[in-house]
Amino acid sequence: MQQKLTAPGQPRQLDEPQVPLSVPVGDEVKTTTCYMCACRCGIKVHLKDGRVRYIEGNRDHPVNRGVICGKGAAGIMQHYAPSRLRTPLLRVGPRGSGEYKEIGWEEALGIATGWLSRIRATDPKKLAFFTGRDQSQSLTGWWAIQFGTPNFAAHGGFCSVNMAAAGLYTFGGSFWEFGEPDWDHARYFLMFGVAEDHASNPIKIGLGKMKARGAKVVVVNPVRTGYGAIADEWIGIKPGTDGLFVGALIHELLSSQRIDLDYLVRYTNAPALVIESPGSADHGLLARGEGGEVLVKDRRTGVLVGIDSPDLSPVLQGEVELPDGRKARPVFEMIARRYLAPEFAPDEVAKRTGLPASQIRRIATELAAAAFDNPVVIDQPWTDWHGRRHEKMVGRPVAMHAMRGISAHANGFQTCRMMHVLQMLLGAIETPGSFRIKPPYPKSNPPRIKPRGKPGEVKPNTPLPGPQLGFPLAPEDLLIDDAGTPQRIDKAYSWDAPIAAHGLMHMVITNAANGDPYPIDTLFMYMANMSWNSSMNVPAVMDHLTAIDEATGEYRIPHIIYSDAYFSEMVPYADLILPDTTYLERWDCISLLDRPISDADGPADAIRHPVVEPDRDVRPFQDVLLDLGWRLALPGLTNPDGSRRYPGGYPDYIVNHERGPGVGPLAGWRGKDGESFAKGEPNKGQLDRYIANGGFHHHPLPHDQRYFKLWNRGYVDWAHKSGFLESTDRLVMQLYCEPLQRFRLAADGHGAVQPPASHRERIATYFDPIPFWYEPFEGQLVDLSKFPMHAITQRPMHMYHSWGSQNAWLRQITAANRLYMARAKGAEIGVADDDWVWITSHQGRVKAQVKLMDGVNSETVWTWNAIGKRSGAWALDKDAPEAEKGFLLNHLIGELLPERDGGYRFSNSDPVTGQAAWYDLRVRIEKADAEPPGTSPRFEPLTMPRSVAGRRK
């Protein structure tokens, strides 16, 4: 650069330097799918000299439309994290000691095959296979079926099964996973319990659109962070009381006669007749005609007709006499009486929720005004299930979304169902402006899949006759023996958790160590940090993992196999570690058969493909599973001549596996010529087509099928033809959830399968077919004068579980967490900013540092989820803030509830679904002046495997 001459004391004036403005980003761009959280956004990965240079959002992708979040943009540092495992490991010291031998894959697979083949030849249920944050459940579940064990599930039981089950049993879809708000048309948006997660970018994009349009955004959450911060109204509700708030809204809508009667009659079972014959085996079931059709009473003729009759004008109130003399009553009347009861009046509800009655009334008024005074009209003709043409699509611009804050309570299933009742009363499901379902959903409510694993279905060297996870309709569908004993290690589908549609992963280790209901031989897990932030009562879980059976001198859980890409807290507790790749080094299939990336405008699925080669001796878990399956000679994985069914590994399986004729893991570009969608023979070029299209396939529905899907003739016929619906039967939404009543009848002493005495009252109480509110169990069982505060977690938007804080960039944003508390509460109990306090629950105590704030419910403390780390884990230095100051609330949460009368300890879960009740925690806060600063408890620092430690330097 040339310097111009300037007089002394005059400012320098230089020629501007030449900045290189058009440097190419890299040498190559590859398009794949993110895995920095559960959203599965499309990403473009720029490579330079064989290394990842830059990751950005894919503009064409249906999930993220080009944007990327704080986690996704830090993917480079995840991919290059020093905590990556580098080689298979065999434990040589005691469990937890971190003494390993580094071994080769042949030896590792040989050991696993030895353990597993012995189990399979004797008693397949001795394998418990649980896969955590797995995005390949259609493969892992199928593998477990081939193996023959009933003990399979992923992490849904401790995440969102309450939402999934409540939605699937009501309208055949669900919040988040199988539905989304109508971001483009809603004018009023009510969001419950979204702890900054699920979904990430779709919610952010949607909120941006709503704010730009001037829609009102209302956030219901005890904590006002991220989404709550930009809401037009933040409702800082007391944890676990959302059902009261929702019930009060329903109360107000019914009181002011602001409901969508036409919608209720057309699309729900509001007019269905409920048999009233207390003490009989059919009490509370729906009255049915000779052909099995659900009956309603026509108000003009007084005749009982089937609910599927066109142009119904049904009776909605009053006792109805059935032909055989039994009495019945319309569902609508029962709903109205339930919610008009004084317990749901705003003044009553105000006492428990902490929300002013005036605010509840105002929100109800706003909801009604938004729904009814200004409907959304789309100029689009459509044809309904009965074949009637409608010139326009008319809907209610009130959208709702709910997640963990509802799900993670022991009343979450009924609360979520109650939200769906509210939506139905407003005409706000599958109508323009409201909540929309994502194909291949809606399914039948619930889907017609029964769980397998009954006595007699689990046999040596034999596949299970069907999937482990399904949707019971009656006690006969439970997985129990004649004595009522659970058949699964997690007690899913037993009287403890009859509709445990995602299993109870949070109970597996405790139950296995206790041999309750039976001991297992091998615990095989993938991507689940169960000795740390994914378990309740972490100290006890560590004990369980290392507990010795005094009779044999062996570990009570004799073998543990674990696959993870990173040196997580769980690794030292495994006997055999199968190192996985990062998400940029692997094939994956995000399938319509499990959890697709669809939006409400059409089904979509996606792949990951390797954009870089691994630089270590690691293998993608799915390849390993297929290899193991062949070594075990599992039927679906082995040809008749004994050779591998999928010699090309996971990509070979993705293309060539058929679940049914023409149905495979990917729905796009099927058939020889690649021109078929959903059904068609395998296409050798399928993956190339996906890669060329940016890693995904989206099938946009014609515009006349995009709303009213459950009752849309065009959609239902197409969905049936595509294999998404078992039949073209009419789909009626379930205001009244009849299957629950069948369980209640069993508790009343009816039927062949009845709960044991210890469970009768529980089933009779909580299996109410009409949603109700109850105090979550921990609040019922502990002394609230000793534990007066609620304690919950939120998930920072830039981190996701424990994956985040090993990330060199993300941990510069957050490396330790504080206990957040209301400023007024701090003043009340004498706690100031930066004070260290003990947080004590009935289970134990944890020491944390306080930060006071205004935006939190006054009776609630909270912290960020999964920041706290065990010293030495994730290849962080032993004195990392995550270990010295970061803490988990998990240690305070019991996985078992306190004993009740009779001594039985139920799991800390929803009584219907078995969902882990993380947010029911009750605590007290006391200053910890006497102790030096720093978190407690601390555990023995972990020792990195040599190969990991070597890279760390």
């Binding site: 830090a74 730009a212 008024t365 938007m797 060199a808 004195d879």
Partner: protein, 248 residues
């Protein structure tokens, strides 16, 4: 002392909407990611896996609570160089390494002449400059000068990485010298404001304020008829209404 151009042909800058920023840090990590390998790179990360992880970030997000009680709200505030019209960080520079481009107003640091004296970071009231301990030079937001004119990128991608990333659409990029530009109109419509205008550095970047909260039911439509008390007759009134509606 370094001189400023008398005028700049354009005033390129950002408009950041505090009404929609959820504080997700996407802009911060995307910025780090782009610039770590771009013109500003490498950006250091000190003690990345240790007790005190820190490094150079050209864009950071802070979350604050403002007001108390019912008036309290949470504001997420992204912070980066504002590319001021009269930036003290340039005029204090003893070597001329800090400069403001005559063409577009972007404030840059020439790494070849920066001596790492940190005068500029002392002069900047916005805390927008980041000292790179590894390389001994000052780093700052370049407005992604190596993206916005980059002919190897698709035209729609020629915008700063933070804008490209932002999931809520809270960040906008454009020429604030052009009254007809989308960003200028946004500023006019939404009451965009300067940070610390009293310092008179004339920031180019503008912030859009959070919209006022309204708790009036009229915001979404007329108020429904007054709600009856739950005196036991609400059900009967409801059923009578249902009867009327279904009879018509």
């Amino acid at each position: 002392m370094t001189a400023l151009p008398a005028t700049t042909r354009k005033k390129l800058g950002l408009v950041i909407d505090l009404d929609t920023c959820v504080g997700c840090h996407a802009c911060a990590t995307s910025c780090k990611e782009w610039n770590a390998g771009g013109y500003s790179g490498p950006l250091t990360d000190e003690d990345a896996y240790g007790a005190d992880p820190h490094g150079a970030w050209l864009n950071r997000v802070h979350s604050y609570e403002v007001g108390e009680g019912a008036e309290s709200r949470t504001v997420n505030f992204p912070r980066s160089c504002l590319h001021c019209e009269t930036p003290a960080c340039v005029t204090v520079c003893p070597t001329g390494a800090s400069y403001k481009r005559a063409e577009d107003g972007i404030v840059l640091v020439n790494p070849d002449t920066c001596i790492g004296c940190k005068l500029c970071s002392w002069a900047c009231p916005y805390g927008a400059r980041e000292y790179d301990y590894t390389h001994g030079v000052m780093k700052k937001c370049t407005l992604c000068v190596d993206r916005i004119y980059n002919e190897t990128l698709a035209p729609e991608d020629r915008q700063p990485a933070c804008v490209r990333a932002c999931p809520t659409g809270a960040r906008h990029f454009g020429d604030l010298a052009d009254a007809e530009s989308a960003v200028s109109k946004l500023v006019a419509d939404r009451g965009g404001f300067d940070l610390l205008p009293e310092m008179d550095y004339k920031p180019t970047n503008k912030y859009l304020p959070p919209r006022p909260r309204t708790f009036e039911a009229k915001a979404v439509g007329p108020v429904a008829e007054s709600v009856p008390r739950p005196d036991g007759s609400a059900a009967e009134r409801l059923f009578a209404w249902v009867d009327r509606v279904l009879s018509t």
